[in-house]
Symmetry: C2
Subunit: 452 residues, 2 copies
């Protein structure tokens, strides 16, 4: 799209002046994936008009399935139940399920009740699989072949299926036995280049990589990414094939997971997006902020232990945030490197000890270097050489602890089967704050007679 902002402005003007046909031509030229950011700035009335246009163009369904969650919600708010059900009914089952799950609770049942009966039954079947499992995100449309079919027959079979459905996403054909158990996979290219008389059973790759219906989608994405697959078959415990997951859906999962990892470090919920309603964002963020308030008061309690010391040397209050802040930064760096390493599968628990001792060594080195710099600065500023020594010692200790804790906490959470990105940052910050204040004020108290 050349200029989305200009396009949006023109579209709004055309809608305002009732030039619907011309607005329709503009909408028709925009790719479904590009409509999201445009819809974000429209009023509910304008969203309704654009959805009407998309509906006429039979593009409403694909557009809906491409919207980010916060904009999807706005569009849902602008449409009535009948229209929504009509749009949803046109989607592939995996896309339909994903959107039905995102519907506001109070309208969910009414909208589902308006779906055609057959589609509702498909939906209910998919909903039996655990949340965010392969069964929920798989597409149940795939080409199954018999091992005895020849390459030529298989091509005829694909041709017979083809025609109207421009589903060019058929990349692999799956050879199954009489009970639908997966035997092997035939890449379409191999089918094309093989001698027409060869049997699919000879052409197929045996024991292809597959996932179970209840495998978590995050693991599915990791498998597809790791083995450079374009699609992965989904089977059940008996080996029967139920569907497949294609790489374009995997990309969405990878981006979702990356968002989740970034969000978790800041204590954010996935639903909390740029254009989520204010009350939703507040509701989602408050619990985390309250937990942080608790840890902040823990830090305050530690500072409170040294009220007498601060009373004698007020300058300590001035420099104490420097030590705690630097320890916080160091801890965040160690945590980020280790948590990301775990997320990318580059780190097993066995190599965890090496990672922890490395981060400890980095913490000591960075602590010594920045501590020296800070000590020099404190000396120049306050003219107090001994306060400089206290700053240096405290930074060395608390950055060492920050490296150690920053690396150990995500590994420990992972070993206990928790998501290492979730909760790590609040635990690490609590440690670095506590250790920063305690080491600085504690060391200062020990040498109180030589300060001030």
């Amino acid at each position: 799209m050349a200029n989305p902002e200009l396009t949006t402005r023109i579209l709004r003007r055309l809608l305002a002046s009732g030039m619907t046909a011309r607005a329709g031509r503009i909408v028709a030229r925009v790719h479904p994936a590009d409509l999201g950011p445009m819809l974000a700035v429209l009023t509910p009335d304008e969203i309704r008009s654009v959805t009407d246009l998309l509906f006429e163009q039979r593009r409403a369904a694909e557009t809906l399935s491409e919207l980010p969650p916060d904009i999807f919600r706005q569009v849902v708010d602008a449409l009535d139940d009948e229209r929504l059900a009509a749009v949803l009914a046109r989607l592939d089952i995996d896309d339909m399920l994903a959107l039905v799950e995102e519907l506001p609770e109070e309208r969910h049942d009414d909208i589902v009740a308006l779906l055609p009966e057959e589609r509702r039954r498909d939906l209910e079947k998919m909903e039996l699989y655990p949340e965010s499992s392969a069964g929920r995100v798989m597409n149940t449309d795939f080409v199954a072949l018999d091992a005895k079919m020849t390459a030529e027959e298989a091509i005829d079979h694909v041709r017979a299926l083809g025609g109207d459905s421009e589903s060019e996403s058929i990349l692999y054909l799956y050879v199954v036995d009489d009970e639908a158990r997966l035997l092997g996979v035939v890449p379409i290219r191999r089918l094309v280049t093989a001698a027409p008389s060869r049997a699919c059973g000879d052409l197929m790759v045996r024991d292809p990589v597959s996932v179970q219906v209840d495998t978590d989608q995050e693991e599915v994405a990791a498998i597809v990414a790791r083995y450079n697959l374009l699609a992965v078959p989904v089977i059940d415990g008996t080996g029967r094939m139920h569907g497949l997951i294609t790489v374009d859906d995997v990309i969405d999962v990878i981006q979702e997971e990356a968002t989740e990892d970034i969000y978790n470090l800041a204590g954010l919920s996935e639903e909390d997006r740029v254009f989520s309603p204010i009350h939703l964002s507040v509701k989602k963020r408050l619990p985390w902020m309250v937990v942080n308030l608790g840890t902040a008061f823990l830090a305050a309690w530690i500072v409170g232990l040294f009220e007498r010391t601060i009373e004698e040397v007020v300058l300590l209050a001035v420099f104490m945030p420097v030590v705690a802040g630097m320890a916080g930064n160091g801890g965040t760096q160690a945590l980020t490197v280790v948590a990301r390493g775990i997320a990318l599968g580059e780190l097993e628990f066995s190599s965890g000890m090496r990672a922890v001792s490395k981060e400890l060594a980095v913490g000591v080195t960075v602590g010594a270097a920045t501590g020296l710099l800070a000590a020099g600065f404190v000396y120049v500023w306050g003219g107090q050489p001994f306060l400089g020594v206290v700053v240096f010692a405290a930074m060395l200790v608390s950055l060492a602890v920050a490296g150690l804790v920053g690396a150990a906490v995500p590994l420990a959470l992972k070993a206990a089967n928790y998501d290492p990105a979730l909760g790590s940052s609040v635990i690490v910050t609590t440690f670095t704050d506590a250790c920063g204040f305690f080491s600085f004020l504690g060391i200062a108290t020990l040498f109180l007679d030589r300060l001030g």
Copy 2:
């Protein structure tokens, strides 16, 4: 892989006792993508032995191209120049270039000089494209067709190319004119299902989505993800096709970019991984820590302005980190939501004002709620109702500023064509620290006679 740690242990024992053949059978069963984490825990001698085994199995090249950067470096350190050059020479040009770029500077030229002349020339040609551009990451092996070819002839053409190269990644065939200019794309499935006598020119999709040789790989990834493509052709300014980029490489780019976004928030360099050598990590982290030390001293300077106030009411020193810390958390949340929205393309500058005012509103609400809680706590703790009022007011002000700044900074950086993930966090933290301390101590100074 059933149990990577057990496999690694067995492998080490077999290598130690010189049972190379059995070790070789174990290595042969591990997928190249799974060898990375195993190699990470081996000694240089063991790495050499495993690489020898992989070399015998003709799997060294594909393994090397799957390694994370820090483990690649370890493997490189364990191998001599001849062996490395021999492994690199076997790779596809895009993978070869990516690894050659990662070679340690001091050995780069020696290793490249050992490559076969033809491969060296290919490499030099690719190196003319700008860094991390499409030209650098594209694969130059693709199937070009003439518009007048029939479907049957095209299939014969693919068959003739095929055979030994098990490159099942051929998903699209590209129709070009006499001067190699891209005219259209024929999905292989369409070729299979079409009438054998139809011309490719009729079958092709005209004006397919394409990227320029100098398009940044991040943009390429965004385009492939957005339009659900499996591959995208790479053309030059005159429309000539030079190569294509497939979705499996795009997944790597997306994961790299996600790592970069997460890393940037913590001020980390991409090269700084779990198992990077300590000196490298220290070198990469020190500049950011020094910048943070500067901003920490700025905060200390602000606290220093209120030394007299703290001298009178020491309890202020106890609670001041609470206000600054909470503002920091609030700012990080706003920043994360907005920066991630920008990265996912869900937010244009035009809708930026809405995002900023939303985050301001969220900041005010969360600040009021947590401020009230904190005030109650301070009252119970210190028995000082007026100090509670000061805490409440300071948290309200600084969380409002945190929301405003957290949302505005990444948008401003983006508008100025900087990466919004880079630098945002240090700017936002500086603001929230400064504002947290200033508002709390400032308000306390105004009402000093009613405190203590």
